[in-house]
Structures are given as C-alpha cells and as structure tokens.
Amino acid sequence: MPSIELKNICQYICRDVNLKIRDRELLVLLGPNGAGKTTIANIIAGLTDYEGSVLFNGAPVDKLPAHKREVGYLFQDLVLFPHLDVAANIAYGLRAKKQPPDQTEAKIKKLLQMMKIEHLSSRYPKHLSGGEKQRVALARALAPSPRVLLLDEPLSSLDVPTTKYLRTELRQLQQRLGITTIYVTHDLQEAEEMADRIAVLQDGQLEQVGKPEEVFFYPQNERVSDFIGAPNILDCDYCRSLGRGVMEVGCGGLTIIVPHIGNLAKRIAIFPHDIHISETKPVGPAVNRFKGTITSVSPTQEAVRIGLKAGTKELTARIPHHTFEDMNLVAGKKVFVILKLRRIRVYEDKERRP
C-alpha cells in the first residue's frame, strides 16, 4: 500500500494544501461542511482538475485518469448501481478490468463473506437497508484491490447504533487489510475513534495535522478549537506569572490559574466537557472553582449541555447523560463550577480568530 502525498494542491476551494498520508495509515480529514474535504478526496481520486501534485509512493499520478489510479472510493451517498444486483455491483470493478470470470467469482464470494452479506448477493439495491447498502458499497470499492481507500462520510446516512457498530468494523477491517485510507467526516467523535491522525480542514486550508489527542487537546489555533468543541473562549483582563509553570489570568471577575505559556495571554479556551459541575462544595483546594448559576439545560444525543453564568461570564458545560441523571440540575440552580487546569488552553494572539 502506498503513502500518499499532496503537494501544493490548489483548486477553487483548496488553498495550497500539503499533506502526507503514511503507508497503512487511516487519516481522518475533519472539517465543517464546505471546507473542501470531498474536494480533496476527489483530487486524490482524479475526479476533478487541480493544480499541484498528488504522489502515490513518491511517484506523481497527476497524469493518470481516474480509472487508472486504483483508488477505492466510497461516496457519501454510496451510489450503488440500481440496475445491478449486489453481486454484480461488487463485480463491477473486476469486470471493468476484464478479470477472468472464475477469479471474479472467487473474489466476490470472498468479499460477500468478509462483509457478512452472502445472503444478499442476488438482491437489488432498492431492497437493501442503509447498513446493508453501506457494506455492499464498501465491498464494491475494495473488490478491485485498490491501492488507496477514500471514504467520504460513509456513515452519515445511517442511524446512530448502526453507525457505531459499522465504525468499529470499518476500523478493524482497515487495520486488517492495511490499506492506506482517507476518511472524510465532520463528526468529531467519529474522527477521534477512527483516526491514526487527523487533518483539520477549514475553508480549503489545512489548519492542523496530528494525532487525535493532539488535535483535540492542543488545537493549534482558535479556528481549530472553535470547530473541535465550540470551546468556551474567555477574554483575559490581565495575566501574571505565578512561577512553577502556571500563571493567573483574570476573566470577567473570575481568577483562573492556567498553564504558563508566556506573559501575554489574551484569551483562554476550555472545552465544555472539561468543565465540571458539582451541587455540593467539592473537597480540595479552591483552584479554578467558582460559584455559578445554571441558565439553561439542553439534552443532546450524546450528552447534556448546561449553560452557566459564573462571574460575568457565560460558560457552556457538557456532561454525560448518566452523570446528569444522578444530579438535580435545573435552570436557576446555584452550583459549583470547576475548570480543569490542565485542559485550559491559552492563546497569545487574536489575529486568526475568524
């Protein structure tokens, strides 16, 4: 399996994208809608014109048309051929390349087994469920033994339980096959679970490339952190060093201890899931602990978002459903708010704030 390299890729939306994807790696291309994620996948597949160079294993493939690049591409809408049954869909790439019929048959059988869809082989796509279609589309993409696999939001059309299940399966399959994969998504949780590395793309520009924990906990700039968790961003009124790797900043009446990064902290960021809420006064030192009032409670699919007012600042916290159920949190209630010191990010400049 080759490594992939994008060199100075420019297109209508993409601005000078440089990216290396290692052999056998699963790289998640993460970004909001319209960031250019699909465009990059299309560029690698050769489905769109571009400037710059795409290299597979160091060799440029820019001159190769899409049908010679040997890229397996799973489209967002899966795009199964409606006029072909499951087996013929999977066989499409093999027949297009004129593989001998007996080899084709054997390969189809193997893929049907691998994706656990043997019972579907003579069905037409209109009779398949979303999850089944997904498996068929993946089998079809894998059939011609592509050098690279591109997955464009492959789970976005499925319900949550199916998504979770298929995500794990997809990851295992990718590791087993050792196929270099680019996985496009706007879903943070999906990115975190799937990725070897994450590349954050915004407005056609790569903002940060790194391991999931790097990107999630140490976003390189505010554009990344804005997207990653819509973190609470607080402007600092003052800051002073306390020594021993920490400093104190004042934000709207709150005195917050943060990691020391220099003496010019302009604002700090903290993710909603790094804010703790307690009904009773917690034991231990009162570092980064404030009295606050709940202003709103809004359950989402994954967690409960709690709006808080502490000092003059509005904060958003995110707590898991099970924690929420153990507490009695309603709007207007007074609680203790704890900010996790090591999860607070400090920014010195504001120039890249959108």
């Binding site: 591409y73 051929f81 499409y92 790439g93």
Partner: protein
C-alpha cells in the same frame, strides 16, 4: 377496489357500450338522416373484409410500413440520442438543429417528401421514420443526460473506461426514458400512417377508409377505425410490457 375484481370484469363497460350501440342503431334512435350501422353489421363486414383478403392486404401494407419506418427511425434516434447525450460536443452541435426540426409534425413533411420521393413505398416509410426519429432521440438524450453523475464517477473510480461506463451504466439507466419514447411513438406511428395513407398513398388501412368514404360504406370505415385503435393499443402495450420486463427488478 378495482384490482380485486377478476380480470373479465374489465370488459363489462365494453360490453355495455357495444350493446347500447347495437340498440341505438337497431331502433333508429340516431337523429336526422345519419346512416349508423349496428355493431353486428360491422362485425359481419369485418368478417367479409377479412375473408376476401381486402382487410388483410391493406393491413399488411400498413403494418409493413409502420414496422420498417418505426424500427429504423427508432434505432437511428437511439443511436444519435446516445451520441448527443454522452458527448457534450455532439449535443452542442446538433441540439439547435434538432430543436428546430422536432416541433414539425410528421405529416408536415408530407408535401415535401411527395415531391422529393414521389408516391411510392418509400414515402410512408420515410414519414414514419421521421415520426419516430425525433421523439425517440429526444427521450434518449434526456435519459442519458439525466443519469446521475455520481454513478459515472463511481464507475470511473472502479476502473471502467468511458465506453464501458456508457454501455454498462449510462444506457441501462437511460432505458426507462428510451422506452417511454418508444412507447409513445409506437402508437403515434399508427396514427400517422393512417393519415398519410388517407392523403397520399393508394394502399393501406387509411386508403381503404378513403375508398369506403367515397362509397359511403360507414361499416367499413368503422372496421378500419377499430383496427387502428387495436393496433395503437397493442403497440403501446408491447413497449409497456417490455419496459416493465427490463426495469421492474431494479426500479
């Protein structure tokens, strides 16, 4: 509700209609001096015409013209339509011309073709060719161009060449549209051939009708109209059936 009835029940309205027809004609309930033969007389005349070969000869003449004109016209329409639908250059070059010719009714060509071709067997075939060519072409172009581009892109990433994509993806997915064109024109070909034969050709069902008119044989005219109606219906139904056979599995 209707679907629960047994198939034979669908013929009930037809039977009622024929009975009414028979009664109205027998009891002379038609106003004025109109000559109106009862259904039974028409049936007997049909038998006479069939027995002495007049109906068969004229029917065969019309059928042959329709088949030759329709098959060649449709094939040409499909071929040009595929080229136009698949290749933007062809479409750009031919679309303006086709758009100008398409609205001309097939019979509008008759005077011109009578002068160019003369009154011979080629004339009705040419008319039917034109009558089939443009609509089938139009539906084919639409069908091919409407194929979702993602199907083409996915086929490309799977390693299929342009020609392969055309034959294995674009044409099969355009089939429903192509069949719609064929079905509509199969009936239309019969309507046009009758009209052409009435005006310009001395043989065929249309010509038989004109001769019957000059002899004031209303029963023969009605026989011809029934043959026409049955043939239009049969041709359309044939293509409906074919379309269903080809596409119901996946549509």
């Amino acid at each position: 509700m209707l679907k629960k009835l047994r198939p034979g029940w669908g013929l009930l309205p037809v039977a009622v209609f024929l009975a009414l027809w028979e009664l109205v004609a027998r009891f002379n309930l038609v106003p004025g001096e109109l000559s109106f033969p009862p259904f039974s007389v028409v049936v007997i005349e049909f038998y006479h015409l069939a027995a002495n070969g007049v109906l068969g000869d004229n029917f065969l003449a019309s059928l042959t013209r329709v088949l030759i004109g329709f098959v060649t016209g449709s094939l040409a329409g499909i071929a040009v339509g595929i080229a136009m639908g698949w290749r933007e250059n062809f479409n750009k070059a031919l679309h303006p011309i086709i758009s100008l010719f398409y609205p001309i009714p097939a019979l509008g060509w008759l005077p011109l073709l009578m002068l160019w071709i003369g009154i011979n067997e080629l004339l009705p075939i040419a008319i039917i060719f034109i009558c089939s060519f443009f609509p089938v072409l139009y539906n084919t172009v639409t069908g091919i161009r409407n194929v979702d581009k993602d199907y083409i892109r996915v086929a490309r990433t799977l390693g299929a060449s342009d020609f392969k994509i055309l034959t294995t993806v674009a044409i099969p997915l355009a089939l429903p549209n192509i069949f719609t064109g064929l079905r509509l024109e199969a009936g239309m070909a019969w309507r046009v051939i009758i009209a052409a034969e009435m005006v310009a050709i001395p043989t065929g069902i249309g010509a038989l009708m004109m001769r019957a008119e000059s002899l004031i044989r209303i029963d023969i005219i009605i026989v011809c109209l029934i043959v026409l109606a049955v043939m239009c219906l049969a041709f359309e139904r044939f293509f409906q059936y074919m379309e269903a056979r080809v596409t119901t599995r996946w549509r």
